[in-house]
Amino acid sequence: MKTHIQFLIAGTILLVSLFTSCKKDNDDNTNNPNTEDLVLAGQAYTNQGSILVKVYGEDSLYSAYSKLYIELRDSATNNLINDAEITLLPQMPMMGHAAPFENPASTTAIEGLFPCAVVFQMPGTTGWVLDIHVKELAGNKEGDVSIPVVVNTPALVRTKVITALNGTDKIIISYLEPSSPEVGINDFEITLHKKETMMSFPAVENYTVEIEPEMPSMGHDSPNNVNPTHTGNGHYEGKVNFTMTGEWYINLRIMNGSEAVDTTSYFVVTF
């Protein structure tokens, strides 16, 4: 009996020390951001300033609103850079157009990474380039990279370029949520961007959006949905209800004041 207790105590001490030591490792090692669940989209050294720029996506890149995470390292010391100003310019040089994007909201990295986003409005195995300008704030080093990325076609259309009903405006509608839909209440989120020129895609902030989920094979909708409203940066958030699993269309009705912008677009959700 006594030996059992001894073993138990010894085991417990061992376990506790193992866990605490592991934790310590993590705390100390700020040099390694957690990119376990991310997929490396591309990396390059800046033309000046000796900075390694690594771009991660949450998955392979798709023609959709894509969240990106940028990791910066001093190429000499391999140390992580946590304070920097990053400016994106995603573009397809051959076709002479850019894409909507969101620069990192802060110059300070979050757990070693700078989150930002790009709406790749079309797929391309070649052609897409992420131009990134980096300004390291501590050492005041600056440089540019040009990282080619592969943009795949998603299983379901997640971004659309439409011509508004006025016949001139080009609007880019991108689907963000629900990314893992469930029966019941889901968060709903889209972004709207306007193609001002080939190279300028500002966020649209003053439209109103109505949604109506529908099961195409059944013809029914679902009750108690909340129409999305603008929450900043061209993001519109609301609630969508699914009464069952299966294929749903989320029909959109986009208005600019009293003028209808689009009444026929929809996103398909299957689960």
């Binding site: 029966v183 019941g184 094979s217 029914h220």
Partner: protein
């Protein structure tokens, strides 16, 4: 012992003079004080029963069963003038007692709670027990039926045969076959009982296979076919003269069952029912009897639309219920009081799914019953008081606690779509109280009056149902977790005049219903089912009432001729509104029966008035009146102790095309139908 036995048992006079046997043999043969001897020959049962109010221990089963050995349970129940049936096809009719269907009444088999597994009520539990395994049906009205649970309309308890201990006859049994023409139906049944001195084993079975039936005029009604078998086994052991241990098992499986009135048929409907009972009957003292029972059962059910044409989306809808429960019963007698106490409880789970399979698209899935657990515990107390030789009073009370909880998170999320929170358990307390008074006015006249208050909890569909399509009104039904209990104040009265050759019995009932649960249309909602009219949510209607009565007459002008007539009428109305839906019109069944020692010949006329009191909100349509004629005959050939019995008859002799008001989908009933049954019993 002898004195007690006389007190306890019913007096039995049989053509084979069983009555001359010893009391202990009585007891052996019976095995239970709640049972009556069922001789295989015609047995005249004359109960000197203790019922206060309308007698519930009439041998309804045997009497009606003898008309047609292959009747189904629902058809037998319908012979009770206060029971009608809702038909959706040619199988598993849903019983309606005092104008109230299965959600409002207690349906039990040997006191066991069993719940149908179909969200569309295609499988009332009456379809899982067969008449050849049934001894009696106790029908109690309103609050007076609260021994079997809390309900509004009353209770229907079907008591099964069980094994018979009869040392004088080691083997007894029966085998039979029957055919009927309208649906080219074939039936077969058997029963075998083996008895030792202290124990007995019994097994029986039924097989039925019916094609589509032909309505009056000859039209074939598609999707009215079915196939089923039912088997049961029972064992009884009496270690002493005062103890009985009984085991029962019933298995029932139906396949390919057509439901002409619904958009889908049934692939299978299966039930497994187990019960274990112990009874003790002390010879002296205050305690007359006590009984302990434990039981368990499972029901599973799946629908099938693969045989239908023009199905927009193929779907299946499997459902199942699992129930375990038990009760403890005791009867005490002291002076003029006879007290019955019952403690009962059960745990039940119900889950039903729906998966739709669109072409080239993802499957659609939802839970129509979101995996609901029910925990229930009740206490029932009855005091039957013999005020004097002519006056009896009975007081019943029941208190029941019910806890329901959704077990599947998916169901909780589904309900959130309608802003309903079903994540927490739902508690309910149900109270039932009634008093009955009976007076023997003279040698031939007796009268009774029952007054009571009763409550029922909502059904799983009414509380948690999720887009359950009702083919009657074409709406998708959605439950309401916070719906209030339905309540009723109720009175039931009757008077009976009885002579040796004539009998008149008249009863009336009235239910004032509060928080009556009904579906209410919500125009803001879109129906799920393709082509459905809309969505209805369960709602409490403040007040409704149901009233009605029946008149039964029988007269034997000469010894061999019996004239009888049974009339019934029900009227239901939402106070300040429409009639309640699905109320049967005035109905009369009259017959002339020529009796013979070895059988009978009978001419029967069944008529119903038109029903124009309808509720259009429920898609109800008027039904024309009708009259049909049936001829039935029975004869047996004795072969010593054994006998061969022939039953034959022609139903709907004039091949009239008609439908009963409670038939869904405007489907006409069976046309001319000849049947012939032959059975051998030993």
């Amino acid at each position: 012992m002898r004195k007690l036995a006389y007190k306890i048992f019913f007096i039995l006079i049989s053509s084979q003079a069983i009555a001359q046997q010893q009391d202990s043999v009585f007891f052996n043969r019976e095995g239970s004080i709640t049972e009556r001897i069922i001789g295989l020959n015609e047995v005249l049962v004359k109960p000197t029963c203790d019922c206060v109010g309308e007698c519930t221990c009439k041998p309804t089963v045997k009497e009606n069963y003898s008309l047609n050995r292959f009747s189904a349970t629902d058809a037998l129940l319908e012979k009770n003038s206060r029971i009608s049936v809702i038909k959706r096809g040619n199988f598993a009719f849903e019983p309606v007692l005092n104008g109230m269907a299965s959600d409002r009444i207690n349906l039990t088999i040997d006191g066991m709670k069993i719940f149908g597994a179909c969200t569309d009520k295609m499988d009332p539990i009456t379809s899982y027990v067969e008449p050849n395994n049934m001894k009696s049906v106790a029908v109690q009205h309103g609050a007076a039926g609260s021994m079997y649970g809390s309900g509004i309309g009353g209770s229907v308890n079907m008591e099964t045969n069980g094994a018979t201990i009869n040392p004088a006859k080691k083997f007894s049994g029966e085998a039979g076959m029957g055919f009927q023409s309208a649906s080219l139906g074939a039936n077969a049944l058997f029963m075998l009982n083996y008895s030792s001195k202290r124990w007995a084993l019994m097994t029986n079975g039924v097989y039925r296979k019916f094609q589509n039936y032909r309505a009056g005029g000859g039209e074939e009604i598609n999707y009215t076919q079915f196939e089923k078998w039912n088997g049961s086994a029972s064992g009884k052991y009496m270690p002493t003269d005062n103890d009985v241990l009984r085991f029962d098992m019933i298995m029932d499986e139906g396949y390919n069952i057509g439901y002409a009135a619904l958009p889908m048929d049934v692939l299978y409907a299966k039930a497994k029912i187990f019960g274990l009972t112990y009874q003790h009957l002390p010879c002296h003292g205050v305690v007359e009897k006590y009984e302990v029972k434990i039981y368990g059962n499972t029901v599973s059910h799946s629908m099938d639309d693969t045989k239908r044409t023009n199905v927009p989306i193929h779907m299946d809808m499997p459902g199942s219920t699992k129930t375990v429960g038990g009760y403890f019963d005791t009867q005490l007698k002291k002076n003029k009081h006879k007290v019955t106490l019952r403690l009962d409880g059960y745990h039940s789970n119900a889950r039903a799914e729906m998966t739709m399979y669109p072409v080239n698209e993802a499957e659609m899935f939802m839970l129509t019953w979101p995996d609901v657990n029910k925990m229930d515990a009740g206490i029932f107390l009855q005091d039957a008081i013999e005020l004097s030789e002519k006056n009896r009073l009975s007081i019943n009370a029941r208190l029941e606690y019910l806890n329901t909880q959704v077990m599947d998170e998916f169901g909780v999320q589904q309900a959130s779509v309608f802003n309903q929170d079903v994540s927490k358990p739902n508690h309910r307390l149900l109270k039932v109280f009634s008093a009955s008074y009976m007076r023997t006015v003279s040698k031939s006249v007796s009268a009774w009056l029952t007054a009571g208050y009763t409550e029922r909890a909502p059904s799983i569909t009414e509380q948690y149902g999720f887009y359950i399509f009702n083919a009657y009104d074409g709406y998708d039904y959605i439950g309401n977790v916070n719906i209030r209990n339905e309540k009723a104040a109720q009175a039931d009265a009757g008077i009976q005049w009885k002579r040796e050759n004539a009998e008149v019995r008249c009863t009336g009932f009235y239910y004032q219903l509060f928080d009556y649960i009904l579906g209410a249309q919500d125009n803001t909602m879109d129906a799920m089912t393709i082509n459905a009219n809309g969505v209805k949510f369960s709602k409490n209607i403040p007040e409704a009432f149901m009233t009605g009565g029946n008149l039964e007459l029988s007269y034997l002008p000469v010894k061999m001729i019996k004239l009888s007539s049974v009339s019934s009428y029900t009227h239901g109305e939402i106070v300040g509104g429409n009639p309640l839906p699905l109320i049967a019109p005035f109905k009369n069944v009259s017959s002339v029966k020529w009796l013979h020692l070895r059988g009978f010949v009978m001419l029967e006329c069944e008529s119903a008035a038109a029903q124009n009191r309808i509720n259009p909100e429920f898609g109800e349509r008027s039904t024309a009146g009708y009259s049909i004629l049936n001829v039935r005959a029975s004869y047996f050939f004795p072969l010593g102790e054994k006998k061969i019995t022939l039953n034959a008859g022609i139903e709907n002799l004039l091949d009239k095309r008609y439908r009963t008001h409670l038939t869904w989908g405007g489907i006409p009933q069976q046309g001319i139908n000849g049947y012939l049954n032959i059975s051998f019993s030993f």
